[in-house]
Symmetry: D2
Subunit: 436 residues, 4 copies
């Protein structure tokens, strides 16, 4: 059974309708319900795409503008997930992304990225939902799972009949995930998991959760498939977020949670194996700010055309034009960075350090774009109906997950200098006085 069971279609339908009605309080500029046309592609990136990549881009865009844009601000406000859109989303055939076989579409990296961009352009949460499913959970199974695991799970996951989650982070171990503390004790016929996870996207309703845990035998990190409803598994939704509110993040409590031997992913023998997955997922995360920024620019462009103050459209003012120009240039540069990173990956020349460099940088610039957009909309910039407020909040999560900005620049810095700087120096070795 997939997530759809949880949605009560009728009520959702009604709420969705509300959101598409006219915005009574402010008739001078359109909301995101009628999504603004894509005008950001001034550098003609489309021409850098293959026909297939373009196709992914355009059909995802059409779906998002038509089916998600009118309803999503309302879900975001309620921190609710729109289960009822999943069947139509599934028809886009995006499940599985880069994976080939087992019902997966085998997209190119840039093809998969186009889906991320177009989804994030309208709603970053939805892109995170799909990325957790595709580029974390399914990819881990695809790269590191057994033949049996793949056969059992991937086809239904590709069809979004089963939804995946991916549990690495723990309350005690966020940036320092390598030192994770969840344990997997070997017992007869399987493993007993104990520990706590935090922040796990989709986990409140996911059917398949990959759990990273330390083996009692090898002391190394292993990975396990935990199915929905497993005994000893409890999830609790993280409330009160200001970012990606549509994503259902959960605290996971594993209390003597038993999984069979077949649940262990044979491809994982140490923490380093996470990197095989993160290599791709970090590229995808780097693309998210691109999509967000495209949407924000498109919205702002329309808004400054429509909104008049002091007798002129906002777009007539110097201070407004400077922001628009900076936003547009950032959008182009962000796109190019991710495009080149993806190309290098496809050519086998990407390193983790480059992915970290890029991810950190696109979130930095992305933050600038949403912040400028927030300013441009004035008061309506704090109302998620006008898209930008929502994007403004969402960007913060992306700045922080898949390695915070700081952790990623330290990975990049290690690449540049050859020196790791993650640890603090022991307190006693510090100088008692310095010049300053």
């Amino acid at each position: 059974q997939g997530p759809l069971d949880e949605a009560s279609g009728a009520q959702l339908q009604r709420e969705a309708t509300l959101a598409t009605t006219n915005y009574e309080g402010f008739p001078y500029a359109q909301t995101m319900a009628n999504f603004p046309p894509a005008v950001h592609d001034v550098f003609l990136f489309d021409e850098l795409l293959s026909p297939e990549e373009k196709d992914i881009r355009y059909r995802t865009r059409a779906f998002m503008e038509k089916e998600i844009a009118p309803i999503i601000a309302n879900y975001w406000e309620r921190a609710a997930f729109p289960f009822e859109v999943v069947p139509n989303l599934a028809k886009l055939n995006l499940g599985g992304a880069n994976l080939a076989g087992y019902g997966c579409p085998g997209q190119s990296v840039i093809g998969a990225a186009m889906a991320v961009v177009e989804i994030a352009r309208v709603d970053a949460s939805m892109s995170t939902f799909l990325m957790v499913h595709n580029s974390l959970c399914m990819l881990t199974l695809g790269l590191l799972g057994s033949e049996e695991q793949k056969r059992e799970l991937l086809p239904d996951m590709a069809a979004l009949k089963l939804i995946g989650a991916w549990g690495l982070t723990e309350p005690s171990n966020g940036s320092d995930a390598a030192a994770l503390q969840t344990t997997a004790r070997k017992v007869n016929g399987g493993w007993v998991l104990n520990g706590q996870k935090r922040w796990i996207g989709n986990a409140t309703f996911a059917d398949v959760i990959v759990i990273w845990a330390r083996s009692s035998e090898t002391k190394q990190v292993n990975a396990f498939v935990v199915r929905k409803g497993a005994r000893g598994l409890r999830t609790s939704k993280i409330e009160n977020k200001i970012a990606l509110r549509v994503v259902q993040n959960a605290d996971i409590f594993l209390d003597d949670c038993f999984v069979a031997d077949s649940a262990r992913l044979p491809g994982v023998t140490s923490f380093k194996d996470t990197n095989k997955v993160l290599a791709i997922s970090r590229i995808m995360v780097a693309w998210q700010p691109v999509g967000i920024a495209c949407g924000v620019f498109d919205m702002c462009k329309r808004y400054v055309d429509e909104r008049v103050q002091f007798g002129a459209a906002l777009g007539s003012f110097q201070l407004v034009q400077e922001k628009l120009a900076r936003m547009l240039a950032n959008v182009q540069a962000m796109f190019l960075m991710c495009w080149r990173l993806s190309k290098l990956y496809e050519e086998g020349k990407m390193t983790h350090e480059l992915a970290s460099t890029t991810k950190a940088w696109t979130t930095l610039r992305g933050r600038e774009v949403v912040s400028l957009g927030r300013e441009l909309l004035g008061g309506n910039g704090v109302v998620s109906d006008f898209l930008v407020a929502k994007a403004f909040g969402d960007m913060e999560a992306i700045y922080t997950y898949e390695g915070t900005y700081e952790v990623n620049v330290l990975v990049a810095g290690r690449g540049i200098t050859g020196k790791a700087a993650f640890k603090a120096a022991p307190a006693r070795k510090q100088p008692t006085s310095v010049q300053a």
Copy 2:
């Protein structure tokens, strides 16, 4: 009857309790429910305060930490106003602020500011609630109202038995408020108001709303007291905000809304009279980011002590220390700016341009502080239980209201250059080509 009628005490109590329980998912750092100690005052501003100002500061702080901090994240999430705290808030004797007489406390500007700072330190929305009431609505009545209006309204408002709102902004006129379009048609025994207002804080439940409208007789802007429930008055809550979610902002629809002659404020004969009020309210708004930044710094300081990663408290890392140092310096500078501005006001030497310069600047620096704080908390930085996420959203509204950043720098710039730059140049006079 005051707002308390609307609150259903029992349920609110229950919800409040929830928020104070331990934060199960993350036991490694405390939430705002147990508010962090004030450690930000390294420049000893307390010593710049009079005993009375200090007293306001400390009793407000105590109230906020004890009664608001444990419950407010939950209200913020639900975009609800905590009516049940109003009676205790009223006991602080802050209603009326700078006004003297009519039951008002006659605080010094800095005294009133200390209340704003301490409230905003825990929750910016609550400070906006009170400022709209005190420094917009009551102040307008106190400065520009008739003796009768003052006698009728101010005492109950000082006691927070009646709550005020203040309606200037319109959907068609935000930054360009001077050109507002709501009309007041003179009729027998009174005036008929028509038009639409937007963004009016407290207006969904306010007992007293000051409405700015253009007189059919003089074509000048006048002001009117509109009471709750007046015929032709409709308010509709603005939903889906990411900032000041506890503040109930409303769209107001005035549809042949009749008010008696006695409802007109005799002190107002043109738009310029708004400045008498805004002179003080803008000072207060400039102080809000100070309070927000103090709270965020205090929270971050405790968080980086408690949170350990890579074997050390976050506070041990260089990248963390740089942020803390920048935040702390900003807090000091923001405080000093507002303190000096307030002193100049008290000495009769403040200008509108200086207030605008200061307001624009404290929101700029305040934004930097909350953004740095957001980074420091990692994932928990997007959860409002940990204060910073909430502050991060709230700051955006303050950046934008009482004159956006841009409008305020243009006011400041007019002061510096003697040239107004609010208008766009007529399109046809532009050069068809420039060097660039």
Copy 3:
């Protein structure tokens, strides 16, 4: 006669030698005299270049590192031009750049850009020297000159036997160049030029100066070739610069300066014709910060390896690594932006607005890079022997010429909004009060 006459070889030789000797005061890190290896190309841009473009890149790099790096800090300090290097520079066959025929190499836009990048990596002034010559003066002649003018001048200019300058800016007209005031009065057999130019690069010694002036007949802007030593032409070096000190900028005084009919460029009939030249030159200027940033990154990378403080190479510190990562990402993004812009140009799809968007943005990011580099070198960051100080100054000129940052974002903004915002609104039309 070329510029070499002005150089007194012997003395220059001696001074140059001084600069290459060891840096006595600081033996812990190498100066730019021994130029650091190119390590910035982590995104493998080389693979985006054609063999010919690569060839231009590598031979220019070799020349710059070997012949210019050891001597140029000394010239920069003295604000002197190294005439004696011109013959060897000429051998690189870069004169004429994109032009084909008349002895010119007919480089691709990206090929020409590679020369700019590699020259600017070591010294931005030298790249400006060549760009003024190639992409302003020669290009104007090539695109807008008569066959006779081309035949007479281009071959010797391609061989750097004649050096060009290009005079558009006037003291009264910088950003507003379109309103230039220099006049060309038609007389028998020619034109009499009167007026003043400012900032004209190379003009103190140039053999060929293109002068833009307003025709007394058409009131339109025309262009004229003025040769060195023409009567009525006086140039005066602009002293005391902190940027591009090696470039010899001049104030030009035209005092009844007669030029023959043949000196007028037939292709120019109005100010708009400048755009034909600026379309390309602005691309080249956008590339300059790329080259500067590459050099600064390369230098910093070596410096943080060599320099030890607190018992560790600077590269070990978090605050240092964050800067390096940001610099490196910026370098990649800047390169990609210019690369894409150039490709669009080559495909006939570039607009002025895109060139302005890009130029403004690369100078913005370039400024960030040099500023970070300045910080990284501590005290040595203010000494031009260590490259970064020089680059730090130079970037400012590029931020400002070929359209300031502001003028370029207004061009970009006009492209986005369709509204020109160059002009100020008439003073009397401004509101006397606004909300703020």
Copy 4:
């Protein structure tokens, strides 16, 4: 004999005259030679000053505007020191600053600061010259010297007949000054100094140099007075600076340099004693950006009034006004920060951490101000005749000396967190992989 011997009055006079003549190339805005009026004090700081402090401020301002402004750009260009102005500077009675007795004026901290601000407003180098003399060299003697040393040196130094320098930094030890390596070997009747110093201001001509060196007996840091011309003392000017070019910084080579027992400062027994001096000098350094920013704002205000483009004074443009407003607010905030820090010092409540916090922050904001000013002046922003270019360069040195920005925020951060973060973690203890 003081420095005046080195100046050849006649020639200097001639050069100075040149600089005051009209600026031929640009008649549309005045240069710094005719210094702009002080318009920056919109927060009326003057009213926070005592009569004596005001007096220092105004007579220093008058001197700087009249005697230094017309000539200093020329000295800055030539990296030369204006020895001939010293006699008149001496008449201001600023020598010795905070010290009382021994002919010193015993200024309050804020009084001394006003001299720094007013000097730096016109020329930062001159303020550094005086601060090295007053707040480093004389203060060290005054606080840590013997009665005999004070009697011998302070009166002549107060009269600027003897000029001081202060040598702490070494090529191997900049930020990590506490580990300095210069040695003082005890011999009969005195000490033999060996080692190298770098960056020592005034040292090329100073009469009195305080040298910090490690005692061969105690292994602790001691301080010694080395007089001009001492055997074994060699100084070499640091050339090619882009900042504080008027300051003569030197590399000092101590090659078996003998000083008598009486040359040792008895008050110094370990490195920590530097802090007694730096406590005050860092306050003074924090004030330097204030002065610089005041001058830059004053200049920009006049410039945007005088300079016309597109038919209007630059001050009419929105993009210009935003910069002016930001600059002005920064100036006020910087002033207030230093004022409060100084007050706390005077009340015995300042800590090193607060001085570091403030110094780091005023240089950060100061950098923003000069950068904005640089932009505002367009091309003339790179010409030091117009002040801002000079200030733009100078700010960089201040950002870096007396503890770099980074070192100061780490001191501040230690104060906030209680954890020192100066050292890098040992390489081998780092994680081999992290999440990112």
